[in-house]
């Protein structure tokens, strides 16, 4: 059935004359074919050529690469959202759709979004780097070093010839002319600039024992993202992070935030604002000094005035009006006391004399000579009685003692010494020699004889008589 039907169609087409399409119809076929086969939206990268911004506000241009050209249109409404100014030769990425333009019999690209391709890549790199370093903590607030409040020695890393150097130096000098500035020249854009700035920061840190810099300002003037790119590179961010000297970044115009800004301890939005961030205003500091001076003076003056008033009050008292008054009073009192003392001493002496006389008289009255003789006889008697008693007791004790002594003499081991025995002691051990084992060859022996006589001898031989036999 199907094949038959197909045959029928074929045969009918073959029999009929080939269909003639109008231009519009053909164009419409193409349009449908395109719509059916192309993605509804696509992004195309290429270089802009023949850029025309029509007075109507619409834009007409071509995107081309080495092998092809794509005509493009961008309507006014879409173009208004483009932030940059497209121009011939610029590499961009256009997003939109392809359609046929019947009046000219051509297909063209209807762009609704344009992005600069190169910068887009940089921006992506920037965002990736920012994310990476942030995750590592390079931007953390806790790592920010405090800036010196009154920096006297300021290091500047920038291009020797750039306007930024003058801007930075002026902004510092105008506020704080007493600071000394030190320039470490370094290229600030182009290939290798980031490495050179990083090396400068490291070098200054190395030299800082001699340089004694309080702060470092690293910066350059404004420019395109490419121009500022050195300040977005990892190597510089790490050098800033590692710097022991606090770092202030001062890059470009206010809207440009760089990775270096985020890694630095403080950020000046432009080189001309570096001074505001880095140094205090001298007029303010002088004002503070003056304030301190006034406060000190006022306080000490009032303190002195108060002390002076106190002193006057004290001086006004009667003691100070007539200082001798006190002394004279004391002298008078001393005289009085002296008189009283002399008088009482005299009367006391008289009393004592009288009592002594009475006592003497009493003593003479008791006839001391007679009393003494009587006492002597009594004493003699007592003495004799006591003597007899003591002898009696002593005699008994003596007998007991002799008996005990005799017993002891018999028991004393040394009594046998008088009969020819002796006691041998090993001088080394301090023990009496009883057995052969109590001595060793070369030991010194002490032999005690009667009447506490001693002989010392050395052991030259040890022998058991039984074994010897």
């Amino acid at each position: 059935m199907v094949s038959r039907a197909g045959l029928i169609i074929t045969s009918s087409m073959a029999t009929k004359k080939a269909k003639i399409y109008t231009v519009s119809e053909a164009t419409s076929l193409i349009k449908v074919a395109l719509e059916q086969n192309l993605p509804s939206r696509l992004a195309v990268a290429g270089e802009i050529s023949d850029w025309k911004h029509h007075s109507s506000g619409h834009c007409y241009f071509s995107l081309k690469d080495a092998n092809g050209v794509l005509p493009c249109v961008m309507w006014k409404s879409s173009f208004n959202k483009v932030k940059f100014a497209p121009a011939d030769g610029m590499a961009i990425i256009a997003t939109g759709h392809i359609d046929v333009y019947p009046p000219q019999g051509k297909y063209q690209f209807y762009a609704d979004k344009l992005e600069p391709a190169g910068v887009g890549a940089l921006r992506l790199a920037f965002e990736q780097m920012a994310k990476k370093l942030e995750a590592e903590g390079l931007f953390d607030e806790e790592h920010k070093k405090p800036l010196s409040r009154y920096p006297m020695r300021i290091g500047i890393v920038t291009s020797r010839s750039g306007a930024a150097l003058i801007d930075i130096a002026d902004s510092i000098y105008n506020r704080w002319p007493c600071a000394k500035m030190f320039l470490y020249p370094s290229p600030v854009q182009g290939e290798g600039a980031a490495e050179e700035i990083a090396a400068a920061i490291r070098d200054l840190n190395r030299q800082n024992k001699e340089l004694r810099l309080d702060v470092l300002i690293v910066g350059r003037g404004g420019g395109s993202l490419e121009d500022l790119w050195a300040f977005n590179e990892e190597v510089l961010a790490r050098a800033i992070f590692a710097s022991k000297i606090p770092v202030i970044s001062a890059v470009g115009h206010e809207i440009d935030v760089t990775i270096a800004d985020m890694a630095a301890d403080a950020r000046a939005s432009t080189p001309t604002k570096a001074g505001m961030i880095a140094v205090p205003d001298m007029q303010e500091v002088l004002g503070q000094l003056e304030g301190a001076e006034i406060r000190l003076k006022t306080y000490v003056e009032s303190r002195l005035k108060y002390a002076g008033q106190n002193l006057e009050t004290i001086l006004a008292s009667s003691v100070f009006r007539n200082p001798y008054w006190l002394v004279n009073n004391a002298l008078q009192r001393a005289d009085e006391v002296q008189t009283r003392l002399t008088e009482s001493a005299k009367s006391l002496l008289g009393q004592l004399r009288r009592r002594l006389a009475v006592a003497l008289e009493l003593i003479m009255r008791i006839e001391p000579g007679r009393l003494l003789a009587e006492s002597k006889v009594q004493l003699n008697n007592l003495y004799n009685t006591a003597q007899a008693k003591i002898w009696n007791v002593l005699g008994k004790r003596k007998l007991q003692l002799t008996a005990l002594e005799n017993k002891l003499v018999v028991m004393n081991p040394k009594s046998v010494l008088s009969r020819g025995y002796s006691i041998t002691t090993n001088k080394r051990t301090g023990k009496i020699v009883v057995k052969l084992e109590d001595v060793e060859l070369e030991d010194v022996l002490t032999t005690e004889l009667a009447s506490q006589n001693f002989i010392e001898s050395r052991v030259t031989n040890k022998q058991n008589s039984k074994q010897a036999n």
Binding site: M152, G155, L183, Q207, L211, R295, R303
Partner: protein, 76 residues
Amino acid sequence: MAKGEKKDIDKLSFEEAIQDLTEIVDKIEKGDTPLQTSIEQYEKGMALIKHCRGILQAAEKKIEKVSQTGDEESKK
């Protein structure tokens, strides 16, 4: 105040001098120091102010160039 202390003041950095000065002003204004100490502190404070002003007056717009030392690390 000892002479040695005056000499020390000349050696102080601006920051240190300002800090000492602030402490002295605070202390002296509390008013619990004896008169003798207050006067000593006052004299020291005045010396510090003089020292600070001296530093501030030493102004000369000059930018010294730092000579580079080899940075082998970065040139690798």
